[in-house]
Symmetry: C2
Subunit: 127 residues, 2 copies
């Protein structure tokens, strides 16, 4: 089912927070506005990580150790599933001074405190 | 929201088909009963693959080239989302004569032709 434009707009705002606040400014606390409290992430090279506090620690270390300087998220497909949304997307991550890595992901979105956030987030690399 | 027991039973049947028919017996056509017609997979090391025919070709090559001899799928969490289900799971893949790889995944399930099938399937490795 189609995702209403108002929901898509809220999703874009959340993704923009990840791009600009979390990655570019390295403001890890901005993840409070990106992930739901009970979120789960499934990163390549690590086990399932549950809860926003643990997720913030993961990103703090990952962004620093990989030297992520930029991120650009693009929705490929989003479909409504009850009062949630399942999204397929692509991410371009810039490491260091300009090496770009192609990432694809699935995010299960939920509304929490009036904003659309990532409840479940899994990704992998194209190469 | 909770997933009804009858749906969980259908999901388990589908996963069992993948384990026994597709992987152990290398019956790639059994994927017709695993993926929806319009399914999408997001494999590590490759781009997004859309449609069951292309997905079958992916698995035909992947199972042969990696020498996958066994697979065991375990649901970690499943929640209803409208008339669909979002599942987090773990997979143990046996390569060759006994090397096991730990995989985790997210599957978005839909009912098609009276059976629960994988509409969206993404995974990555723990190591």
């Amino acid at each position: 089912m189609d995702v209403p434009d108002s929901v898509r707009a809220s999703m874009r705002q959340t993704n923009a927070l990840f791009e600009s606040e979390v990655v570019r400014k390295r403001d890890i606390d901005a993840l409070d506005k990106v992930y739901t409290t009970d979120a789960r992430i499934l990163p390549p090279g690590a086990d399932l990580i549950e809860g926003r506090a643990a997720i913030k620690e993961f990103w703090r270390q990952a962004i620093a150790s990989l030297g992520v300087t930029d991120a650009s998220l693009t929705t490929v497909d989003a479909e409504a599933a009850g009062d949630t949304v399942v999204e397929i997307g692509r991410a371009a991550l810039t490491l260091g001074e300009g090496h770009t890595v192609a990432v694809k992901y699935v995010v299960h979105w939920k509304e929490e405190d009036g904003a659309w956030k990532w409840r479940t987030d899994i990704w992998n690399m194209n190469q």
